[in-house]
Every structure is written in structure tokens, then in C-alpha cells.
């Protein structure tokens, strides 16, 4: 099962580590105040922030998880991209970014403070801070255990080394360093996984050969012959596709609630656009990120689909490690494929790509955590800003740096808890991710309806979260053996698959939150005057589209049309 690495593989990794740390070292002298450290001085060109935007999302759990999903669900996994990401990214760019960026808010919680009130900010800031620590702890654990099982590396050693490298470059160069490295990591991930795509496709006889070999496998599972290579064709009926969800759940649950909740309100992602050099640049960031995002399925999902063929053909000698219950661990698909096809040399490059994906995700969490901690918790509740801006800049820079260190050590702690009580950590992460859908409802209403009040938003946010929790506690996916998957209050309803349960939890959270916020808005008084809401709400902000002098491909609207057309074409090709 173990993969043998040689000196050249390690040399490639070391060169990569040196460059990553070198970028942080080079940037350290620019970190003169908190603004430079936590917001990258709002000076990033659109293409840099755009690639960082997508790279942050391309963390280790995404790469491992999506390749694994490719093996489980086939081409239906692309729903997480073409319908489950692109529309939300376009919406964020065109309709939400003008208010986010124009508000001068330094974080999403701070936007809530400006638009609503202190308590709404506080609630979101605290939940978000806990969520980022959990997420980076879990991905750190996943990476270290993968390296231990497959490469034979010591668990503690790989955990500490990878965490300390991320600490090194984020401590030195802050958000700028995280963003620059994310661009570098994006290219390493893309180029490092490229040989895998070509070799595995060639091995199964190209796309046509892949389809032919998948046909009998699909039939043996009781599906139509082309189920694993199509996206919408069998989405009419939940039982006819391996995802186990019908078109409505995909369209509304994944394509709207989950995806808009994640892409439009998750500060970890949105922060990259906040760092852009101008409002037009900030609006282009999600669209520039969307261009590579549309093609990432070919890089990680397609090899996962090929793994279905390899797994069912004993002659190929492809295996996956089994878990305690005897089921294959799908998250190991990508590394087992690397082992299958890549000789030493490019193998080191592939492993470096996995490490890079881990680091980009982790640095994203850490740089979002330190900003929310410094501005939304420390500055708001512990030490407010004084009159002396320069001294404040230095003081909060120090706090930003310390919170980077604290954030990394808390994540390491979370990783160790995950290694002992993995289920509890997964459970907590599920719980905290329930906040996204209500948050989207509240921010959306705030941006497009000036009447929405702070009391209503706070209650809507909290109630949406609690109702999502209640739904999770009352339903279970079929075959669930632990209470972690749901039903910890009582199992009133059983979903055919876990995915359907997740989609419905989000739909309920979003609907409840919207209804409650709208209802309470009519019952409470708006305390914010129109001048206070200037620049934060659609109807109170003058349209200042001054990009008519730019060529179409440099305008947000032009890019949005390009992105939209490509994703529709891709959807039709793989319908």
C-alpha cells in the first residue's frame, strides 16, 4: 500500500517549501500596520486576487473529497461546480461586491455591524472564528493521516511541519503573503495533477473508452449505462442517479441555498476580493476565479471517475484502503491514483500539489481568522480604536500577528482532538456549517431591502441556525449508524442519502431565516437612517458604473457573460 518516494521527490517538495517561505520573508518589510497585514492594503490586482479566491477554496479536503465524489457519483459531481458554484460567483461579483467593497467593511461580520447592529456582528464573528479553527484543524488532521498511511510519514512530524510552514509565511507577510502563495499554489496544483489526468485517460482509452467501460458497471448498480458520464440526464428521479437527489434538490438546495451561502457570505473566500485594488477589480475577482473553477472538474473529478473503472478491473491492480467497516475510503482516491500512474519525479510534484492544496486552504482559514479576531472581537469588545491612527495601526498589527500564531496552535489542537474524537469534530463542523444559509438570507435582505432591521436580522440568523439544527436532530440518512449523521433528538424522517439531508437542512434554514427576518422587520422599527445606509443598500446607492471605457473582457458584466456562456456550454456537452 505504501508509496516509495526517492530523493528527487523530496527535493521538489523542499524547493516548493523554500519558495513559499521566501515569499513571506520578502513581504515582511511591507507589513507596517494592521491594514497592510490583515487587508493586504487593498492593493491586489484583480487576476492575483481572483486566482487566490479559487485557490483558497481548492483546499486539501476539496481535492481529496471531490476526487472521491467523482468515484462515488461520477460526472454528477460537477453539479458542485457548474450549478453549485458558478451562478453564485456571478451573483457575488455583479450584485453583492459593490456593497461589500463599497462599504469599506474589513470583514463580513463588520459589514453586518454597518448594515445592522453590534449583536448581529458579534454572533456571526464568534461562530465564524470557531468554524475556521475547526475547518483548518480537520483538514490538517486529514492531511497528516493520509501522509502517514500512504507515505509512511510520522503523523506528528507532518502535522507540525505543514502547520509551521503556513505559520511562517502568514506570520511574516499576512494576507498579502497568503494571497501570493495561493496564486503559486494554484499553479502547482494544476500542473502537478495534469500528468495524472492525461495518463489515466490514456490508460482507459480516452473519454470514449471510459464511457464503454463504465456502461457495464453502471448497469450492475441498476443505473442506465451512461449514468456516470452525464450530469442532468438522470436527475429527474432521485433513485435513477448515484447522487440520490432529484433535480429540485440539486437546483434549489445545492445550486441556490448551499452555494450562495458558501460563495457569497463565507469571509474566508470573500476576503480575497476585499483585498482587490479597486471596486471594479473586486467585482472581477470572483469572475476571474470562476474561469479556472469551471475546468477543475477535469482535473480532479475525471480521474476519480476513471478510478471506478480501475477499481472494477482486477488486472489494473488498483485498490483503496478500507475503513473499519470494510468500506473503501474514497478520500484516498487521488493519492492512490498518483501512486498508480506517476513515476518518481512527477510523483513528488503530485504530492507537492496535495501539500499546496492543504496549505492554500489552511492559510485561507488562518488569515480570515486573524482578521475577524482582531477587528470584530478584539477591537470591538476588548480595546477600541483610539484617536491616534498610527499607534493603532501598529498595535493591531501586533495583535494580528499574535492571533495568527494563536490561530495556528488552536488548529493544531483541533487536529489532535480530531485524531482522538474524529466523529465529534465532524459533527461540530456540520453544525457550524449550518450558519451559512441563514447568513446569506440576512445579508441578501440587508443589501436589497432597506427596511430590514437589526433585531429582525439577528433573530432570523439565530432562528435559522437553530431550526437547521433541529432538522438535523430530527432526521437521519438511511443506514446511518451514528447519531453524528443526525437523528440525535428523534428520527422522525429518513432521507435516502446523506446529501439529500444536507440539502434539505440548508433549504429549511434559508427559508426559515428569510421568513422570520421579513416578518420581524414589519414588527420592528428601522433605527438606521437612509444616510447611514448609504452605500450598503441597493436602493440607496447611486449607480456608478464607470467601466464603459474598458474593453468588454475587462468589465465585470462582460466577464460574467463569458463565464455564464462557458458553463452553460459545458453543462449541455455533458448533459
Amino acid at each position: 500500500m505504501k508509496v516509495e518516494l526517492t530523493w528527487i521527490d523530496y527535493l521538489i517538495m523542499i524547493i516548493y517549501f523554500l519558495f513559499v517561505l521566501g515569499i513571506g520573508w520578502f513581504l515582511r518589510k511591507f507589513m507596517k500596520n494592521a491594514n497592510a497585514f490583515l487587508e493586504a492594503g487593498r492593493s491586489m490586482p484583480a487576476w492575483v486576487a481572483g486566482l487566490a479566491f479559487i485557490s483558497t477554496n481548492l483546499g486539501a479536503l476539496e481535492v481529496m473529497g471531490m476526487a472521491g465524489s467523482g468515484m462515488k457519483y461520477g460526472m454528477l459531481t460537477t453539479h458542485f461546480y457548474w450549478i453549485g458554484a458558478i451562478p453564485a460567483m456571478i451573483f457575488l461579483a455583479l450584485f453583492m461586491m459593490p456593497f461589500y467593497y463599497g462599504s469599506k467593511a474589513r470583514s463580513v461580520p463588520e459589514f453586518l455591524k454597518l448594515r445592522y447592529d453590534e449583536k448581529t456582528r458579534g454572533l456571526n464573528a464568534i461562530l465564524f472564528a470557531v468554524m475556521t479553527i475547526l475547518a483548518s484543524g480537520i483538514s490538517m488532521y486529514a492531511l497528516a493521516i493520509l501522509m502517514e498511511n500512504i507515505l509512511g510519514w510520522d503523523f506528528n512530524l507532518s502535522l507540525w511541519i505543514s502547520a509551521l510552514i503556513v505559520l511562517g509565511y502568514t506570520y511574516l507577510g499576512g494576507l498579502s503573503s497568503a494571497i501570493y502563495n495561493e496564486v503559486l499554489q494554484f499553479f502547482i496544483i494544476a500542473i502537478g495533477l495534469l500528468p495524472l489526468v492525461f495518463l489515466s485517460l490514456k490508460d482507459v482509452g480516452g473519454w470514449v473508452g471510459l464511457k464503454e467501460q463504465l456502461a457495464p458497471i453502471a448497469t450492475s448498480h441498476g443505473f442506465a449505462t451512461d449514468t456516470f458520464t452525464t450530469t442532468w440526464r438522470y436527475a429527474g428521479n432521485a433513485g435513477a442517479n448515484p447522487l440520490g437527489v432529484e433535480w429540485f434538490g440539486i437546483l434549489f438546495g445545492l445550486g441556490f441555498v448551499l452555494s450562495f451561502g458558501y460563495w457569497c457570505t463565507n469571509f474566508l473566500i470573500v476576503q480575497r476580493a476585499f483585498a482587490a485594488e479597486s471596486k471594479t477589480a473586486a467585482r472581477k475577482v470572483p469572475l476571474i476565479g470562476a474561469l479556472p473553477k469551471m475546468f477543475i472538474p477535469f482535473l480532479i473529478i475525471v480521474p476519480g471517475i476513471i478510478a471506478i473503472v480501475l477499481f472494477n478491473d482486477p488486472a489494473k491492480g488498483f485498490t483503496l484502503p478500507l475503513d473499519a467497516g470494510g468500506k473503501p475510503i474514497y478520500d484516498y482516491t487521488i493519492i492512490m491514483l498518483l501512486k498508480q500512474y506517476l513515476p518518481t519525479g512527477v510523483l513528488g510534484l503530485g504530492i507537492t500539489a496535495l501539500l499546496a492544496s492543504f496549505m492554500s486552504g489552511m492559510a485561507g482559514n488562518v488569515s480570515a481568522f486573524n482578521t475577524v479576531w482582531t477587528y470584530d472581537i478584539y477591537q470591538s469588545y476588548m480595546r477600541p480604536a483610539t484617536q491616534d491612527e498610527e499607534a493603532d495601526g501598529k498595535h493591531y498589527l501586533k495583535v494580528g500577528r499574535y492571533s495568527t500564531v494563536v490561530g495556528i496552535f488552536l488548529s493544531i489542537g483541533a487536529a489532535y482532538i480530531a485524531s482522538k474524537f474524529g466523529n465529534i469534530m465532524d459533527f461540530l463542523q456540520t453544525i457550524f456549517s449550518l450558519i451559512n444559509a441563514p447568513l446569506f438570507a440576512v445579508i441578501f435582505l440587508g443589501m436589497f431591502w432597506k427596511r430590514t432591521t437589526g433585531h429582525a436580522a439577528f433573530t432570523g440568523l439565530l432562528a435559522g441556525f437553530l431550526l437547521a439544527l433541529l432538522h438535523h436532530g430530527l432526521t437521519i440518512p438511511e443506514g446511518a449508524t451514528t447519531l453524528i449523521k443526525g437523528g440525535w433528538i428523534a428520527a422522525l424522517h429518513t432521507y435516502p442519502v446523506e446529501m439529500a439531508q444536507n440539502f434539505w437542512t440548508a433549504i429549511i434554514a434559508f427559508t426559515a431565516s428569510t421568513t422570520i427576518t421579513v416578518g420581524l422587520t414589519f414588527m420592528t422599527k428601522q433605527k438606521k437612517s437612509d444616510t447611514e445606509l448609504y452605500g450598503l443598500v441597493y436602493s440607496l446607492t447611486p449607480r456608478e458604473l464607470d467601466d464603459s471605457h474598458l474593453p468588454w473582457y475587462e468589465r465585470p458584466a462582460g466577464l460574467a457573460i463569458l463565464v455564464g456562456v462557458i458553463s452553460i456550454v459545458l453543462t449541455i456537452i455533458f448533459w
Partner: protein
């Protein structure tokens, strides 16, 4: 601040040279390349990375002169 294309260009050029030279040296090792279906992926990927790296450096330089 700094043009990110320079470190990216440098890193990919160095890795490209390293991996393509390694590919050249090991080109007769058929056993090693059995996994990659007999294709010398090290040589191919090394050259691709070198071209990519040099391209990045070229664009970074060109912009500086303007």
C-alpha cells in the same frame, strides 16, 4: 509591492530544469516508466514547467519596462 510572476517563474523554471534533466537521465529506465504507460512523463512535464516558468518571467520583465 512585488510582482508575483517573478517567484512563480523562478520556481517553475528551477523545477522544470530539475525534472526534465531527471527525465533525460532516467530515459532508458523502462521499469520505472512502466507505471506511466511507457511515457517519459518527467521529461514532458519538466519541459512544460520550464516553458511556463520562462513565460511568467518574460511577462514580468516585459511589464517592468513599460
Amino acid at each position: 509591492m512585488v510582482d508575483i510572476r517573478i517567484p512563480i517563474g523562478l520556481m517553475f523554471s528551477i523545477l522544470g530544469i530539475l525534472i526534465s534533466v531527471f527525465g533525460l537521465v532516467t530515459r532508458s529506465d523502462t521499469e520505472m516508466y512502466q507505471r506511466s504507460l511507457g511515457i517519459n512523463v518527467n521529461l514532458i512535464m519538466g519541459v512544460i514547467m520550464l516553458i511556463f516558468g520562462l513565460g511568467m518571467l518574460y511577462f514580468a520583465r516585459r511589464k517592468k519596462k513599460v
